[in-house]
Amino acid sequence: MLTDQAGKGVHNDTPGPGQSAQNPLRTGGDLLQLVSPDGERISHPEFDVWVKDVGDEALCSLYEDMTVIRRIDAEATALQRQGELALWPPLLGQEASQIGSSRSLRDDDFVFPSYRESGVAYVRGAHLSEIARVWRGNASYGWDPQRINLATPQIIIGSQSLHATGYAMGVQLDGANTAVLAYFGDGATSEGDVNEAMVFAASYQAPVVFFCQNNHWAISEPVRLQSHVQLADRPTGFGIPSIRVDGNDVLAVMAATRVALDRARSGGGPTFIEAVTYRMGPHTTADDPTRYRDPIELEDWAAKDPILRLRKLLEAKGLLTEDVEARVKAKADAVAAELRSSCIGMADPQPLDVFNHVYSTPNPWIERQKDHYSRYLNSFNESVEEGAL
């Protein structure tokens, strides 16, 4: 399946078996895995049914999306190094977590991301220029949240977990069967807001999925500094069921997310997913992980690379044909080129734009400052004219 950048949510794969199936939840403990790091399909008595519709074509399409977002990530990192982006938060290593989860969503579901979910934005149908412009400094938002049901990147750690819960409370008031999903990381689980979100979600049985990408590092702080128990054990205390899933196994992530979304839609309340993955790159392009991270750890995780794993599965199934490889490469090349050209060709905002949209109605304080600053800027034009005379 090819991505249509103009459309929204073209990637909505058929949901799982629906309400008839059991929701096989676990609390901590075992790591759900459907594909081994060697690319071997591992059968699971409860979760297999949730991905039974994911056939050869869908697997190739997941592979394409993961490859494309890795390419977006590499291109954006390069653009930052070349001074075209002010900053970029890499997602390298988290492709299976982001694609497996976002490909499980429906159009009408609503997503509250952190700042690292550029892969999710791509799947939801954000334009590449929209993904780039926040990090270029050209705007404080990328896409129109209401167009693709994806909130703007959230930089305050964990803040969006409460927004997702509130949105889910609104879904309940509307009597809709929409699900809401919040992304956050391992560091965010220490924030009060994430804990308060779990309290509220449990109290009201809100249709929200807490999707925690445990990438093992909150900038320089290892996950053991945040928690002495597995992150998937924490929601148990709030009365929220959880699934601990191999975040580098796209099929397992998809199964877990579909279970959680199904629970949300069918009145089952909130679910917490801990996707165990690894941030293979720096926190952002301003970070230097060599100061705090053992290179051997990175090597270990490189062996569990999510794309490599899916390639091995596809190879074993005889699906990784030259045709597929060429198609995926062409797509990644095209997306990277579009990202680059749209980024470099982006028009700068105008100086007086700084005053716009603080309020929905005109505000006399801001209008006055805008007027004064406008006069100040114009004074340069006048002095040039005077000098010319």
């Binding site: 609503f110 509250f112 705007a139 404080s140 938002y141 129109d144 949240p145 209401q146 909130a151 703007t152 305050i156 803040s159 977990s161 409460l162 927004h163 997702a164 819960t165 509130g166 949105y167 889910a168 409370m169 609104g170 879904v171 309940q172 008031l173 509307d174 809401v180 009060g192 807001d193 308060e196 979100a197 309290v199 509220f200 109290s203 716009n356 949209h357 603080v358 309020y359 929905s360 109605t361 505000n363 006399p364 304080w365 801001i366």
Partner: protein, 336 residues
């Protein structure tokens, strides 16, 4: 026209908003069956249901953070923060999310959230129950901040705040909750004085006295007392603290040439400082004397046996009026 206490007037306004707009939901601690610790939401859950008058867990950031999500979904949440001093756990959500969302999304996502805050002292409470945190919020771009001073405004302005597409901090003077006043419940909101306008509540010609919230009554009493001494004090009820309705204050100061500002909050970096600076900039040549601030001290809100010393009262305000007029006052002869 009906005679209502301040608390009942807010209750009536909330009721009207709940009736008129199905997207209005109330949320807060103890606002349901209890009706709020000040009974402002009394009876509303019974009449509108638990889904619209929501008792929330004891988590202020959670209340405001979920309100952001509800607003995202198209709702108009009205959040009660139980006491002024309990708002700080929600400060991050208010400042980083509620205030900035419209700007961040360039108007794609609106935050029509009203945050009701009982504020101010004078009720003999323990710590954290008598604070005046309004300046934190007037300093925060993206928020509207109002303080109501009488039952009619309380009734009208709560509805205007809820109808506003921008977030509004709505400060309620808790020591006035039981004061009664005439309320026209049939008032037409479209022709009522807009939310961001100040009101001259006592005409005068010698000194302009600016107050808001609980001190409007004190300021009016002070004006009446001053009149006995032949001093004509014009009292302005600011109503809106962000934005301040400067044209009304300017017009008054151009007439009187003298300005006194009073609030319960501490002086440094307070609203009085901002108003004094702005009025000095805007009408310097009309001023006959330096603006005077009569405020709470720059101390943590004191224990209740001392609060009457902290709170500006009629006599301290009159002393400030004397200072503005160059009449003998408590600081006469003191340089600087």
């Amino acid at each position: 026209m009906s005679k209502l206490t301040f608390a009942r007037a807010i209750n009536a306004g909330l009721r009207k908003s709940l009736e008129n707009d199905p997207k209005v939901v109330l949320m807060g601690e103890d606002i349901g069956s209890l009706g709020g610790v000040f009974r402002v939401t009394d009876g509303l859950q019974k009449d509108f249901g638990k889904h619209r008058v929501i008792d929330s867990p004891l988590a202020e950031s959670g209340i405001i953070g979920t309100a952001v999500g509800l607003a995202y979904r198209g709702y108009r949440p009205v959040c009660e923060i139980q006491f002024d001093g309990f708002i700080y756990p929600a400060f991050d959500q208010i400042v980083s999310q509620v205030a900035k969302m419209h700007y961040r999304t360039q108007g794609r996502v609106k935050m029509p959230i009203t945050i009701r805050v009982p504020f101010g002292g004078g009720i003999g409470s323990p710590e954290h129950h008598s604070e005046s945190p309004e300046a934190y919020f007037t300093h925060t771009s993206g928020l509207r901040v109002v303080a109501v001073s009488n039952p009619q405004d309380a009734y009208t302005m709560i509805q205007q705040a809820i109808a506003s597409d921008d977030p509004v901090l709505y400060f309620e003077p808790k020591r006035r909750y039981h004061d009664k006043g005439d309320v026209d419940e049939a008032i037409d909101l479209s022709t009522a004085l807009p939310l961001d306008k100040a009101a001259v509540v006592n005409g005068g010609s010698d000194v302009t006295l600016v107050a808001y919230g609980p001190l409007v009554k004190t300021a009016k009493d002070a004006a009446m007392a001053a009149a006995d001494d032949g001093i004509s004090v014009e009292v302005i009820d600011l109503r809106s603290l962000a934005p301040v309705d400067y044209p009304v204050v300017e017009a008054s100061v151009r007439k009187t040439g003298r300005l006194v500002i009073t609030h319960e909050a501490g002086q440094s970096g307070g609203l009085g400082a901002e108003i004094a600076a702005s009025i000095t900039e805007r009408c310097f040549h009309y001023l006959e004397s330096a603006p005077v601030r009569i405020t709470g001290f720059d101390v943590p809100y004191p224990y209740s046996k001392l609060e009457m010393h902290h709170l500006p009262d009629l006599d301290r305000i009159l002393d400030g009026v004397d200072r503005a007029l160059g009449r003998p006052n408590s600081l006469s002869g003191l340089e600087g």
